[in-house]
């Protein structure tokens, strides 16, 4: 009824290739962006209490955006190029530790610059561990990325230089300001950090979208669908696969730096454990392999759902112990993963597409 492309004519090839070809999609994305920008003003407008506001930003929105970015990173590698990686958290850690070293060596340089620059360090490490992908495929490749995961985590624990010989063995985020406003460290407000994260994540998503819609993305997808055929068509496997590793690790590295600098405010090596890698793989698969919007859906489901589950019994007045809730959350998340895989193996992104298709023909069944 209202979601229909009838009457919208395309007169150029550029219009035909647009990411959001239909006016309704453009309005939709504009509404989402506006909502994301206006979210921190809910408290000021008196719609929610300041505590809720802080909770929304600190516990829900900031980590959600960061995990979305990491999922996009992994999705570029696993979903678009078809290379299975279990080392995401390791690459995130490289970003976080690189950012920490850089900002302690050069405290005067803008922290945003270092957050983005640390992505390049992660990309470099990613390329090194991506080298075996030329010879090893499928689940066998998982072992190469697991090697990266465990080796990098071992480095974070064993090499004191990485955490500036702190007695605690953890990194602590120093205070850095941007135009006089504290962005990182204990005095930075949730609102400031939220806007920084939102800007970086939105910008990188835009770049990723352009990458996957262009020549590079197409060659990635060709490699995913069948690498020998892609090679015969003139795609250089070496360059393409390593580029995928580099870009993916860049995204993960930036996500890791954001995670530590703008969310946790400090990190132990345990943050970048194998479980974190698995969690991000969940997000990618549940969200939908080979879909950027799916990465957001996956991050929302896997990250926000447990929070809701934890809050639900309390708000409904059901007395359950904290430990029991924790165990139940595990069970429910596990069951939901299986459920979603059975209902739609192509992920939430696919459900979204089906929904849009249904909406187009509504109220008719087809």
């Amino acid at each position: 009824m209202f979601y229909r492309e009838a009457g919208q004519f395309k007169t150029t090839y550029a219009a035909d290739m647009a990411v959001f070809p239909i006016l309704q999609d453009k309005i939709g994305i504009a509404v989402i962006v506006a909502a994301a920008v206006l979210l921190p003003f809910l408290g000021a407008a008196g719609i929610v209490s300041p505590q809720t506001q802080n909770f929304l930003l600190q516990v829900v929105a900031i980590p959600f955006l960061i995990f979305s970015l990491a999922s996009i990173g992994l999705n570029l590698l696993t979903g678009y190029t078809g290379l299975l990686s279990l080392g995401t958290a390791g690459f995130m850690g490289v970003g976080a530790y690189a950012c920490y070293k850089l900002t302690t060596y050069f405290p005067g340089v803008n922290i945003i610059v270092w957050v983005l620059a640390s992505g390049f360090f992660a990309a470099g490490i990613g390329v090194v561990f991506g080298l075996p992908s030329l010879r090893i495929k499928g689940f066998y490749l998982a072992v190469a990325t697991l090697a990266a995961q465990f080796f990098l985590q071992w480095c974070f624990i064993r090499i004191p230089w990485l955490y500036n010989e702190n007695a605690s063995g953890a990194i602590e985020v120093p205070q850095r300001t941007l135009l006089g406003v504290p962005v990182t460290g204990p005095t930075a407000t949730a609102e400031t950090r939220y806007f920084v994260v939102l800007a970086i994540v939105a910008g990188l998503t835009w770049i990723a979208s352009n990458l996957v819609h262009g020549r590079i993305g197409r060659s990635w997808m060709a490699v995913r669908d069948m690498d020998i055929a892609a090679e015969l068509m003139g795609i250089k496997l070496f360059d393409t696969k390593l580029l995928a590793f580099a870009v993916s690790s860049f995204y993960c590295g930036v996500a890791g730096a954001l995670l530590v600098f703008l969310w946790y405010g400090g990190a132990e090596p345990e943050v970048f454990s194998i479980n974190q890698s698995f969690l991000i793989l969940f997000m990618v698969i549940i969200g939908g392999l080979g879909s950027l919007v799916g990465s957001y859906f996956g991050a929302a489901l896997i990250y926000i759902l447990p929070i809701v589950l934890r809050l639900l019994p309390e708000s409904l007045g059901i007395p359950i112990g904290g430990a029991t809730i924790e165990h139940l959350t595990f069970m429910i998340v596990g069951a939901l993963i299986i459920f979603f895989l059975i209902v739609e193996p192509h992920g939430l992104a696919r459900l979204w597409q089906i929904g849009k298709q249904k909406l187009r023909t509504w109220p008719f069944p087809y």
Partner: protein, 323 residues
Amino acid sequence: MELLYNIFVGPFAEMARAPDLLVQTLWEGLVSGVLYALIALGFVLIFKASGVFNFAQGIMVVFAGLTLVGLYEAGVPAFLALLITIGVMFALAVCIERAVLRPLVNQPDIILFMATFGLTYFLIGFGELVFGGNPKVMIADELYLPKGAVDLPMFGGLVSLQKIDIAAAVIASAMVAGLAVFFQKTRIGRALRAVADSHKAALSVGISLNQIWVIVWFTAGIVALATGIMWGARSDVSFALQIIALKALPVLILGGFTSVPGAIVGGLIIGIGEKLGEFYFAPAILGSALGRGVESWLAYFIALAFLLFRPQGLFGEKIIERI
């Protein structure tokens, strides 16, 4: 020059200086290798028969161990508890087949892989809910597992072998032999191999996929139970055991996904390589402060090194790709 010396001469000189210590290290490696191989065996069984990369094998080990100990603590006699646990593993196999495998038949590998992830999460939550999160002591005495150590004089020193480790090695070999006979000689074994070759072809000659899957997951459950008892008798039964499932991954990859002997050989190579690396090579190369804890990643690098020369693993079938 010094680096080369540290790699090629130093560790070996160290080994030659104290041969009894070397034998002890090799033995330790062998034992952990056997235990890795046991987990890898569970993986291989399921991968062979259903093409599913079963990530949940590790949690199945924990779950089986916890059920056994939990039942015993609830007052059930040890051997009855063992029987009931086997029953529970069977029920688990049936449930998994019904709820996970049947609806997901003919889906891409990675989807099934993720489904076993979901299963892992579910079993972690379920296990902790029922048995609590605390580590439990395995009822080794009640199951008449041997205890204590045998000291063998060797090269002027003593090499101490834990009896439980010897038992683990014996049981593992018996299990592998049994499985080999089962796969090669019995009717069900033949059906399993047919399913492994092609689901569709197996269906068309009248093999019931559902039955086969239940059997395979049940067998993997029994392997998990044996692993749980053995590993539990060495340390505690706790959810930390689940992490060793990840160690089985390089073992599996080294041996090739579809090969039972591969799982064993891979396990031994990884186990021994890991211990030698930890005790001799890492301290010599990285220094004694930095060289600790390399066990956590060495296995993966060993597997990676083998893979670069044989991308299908040592015993895997040659990968042929067609356009």
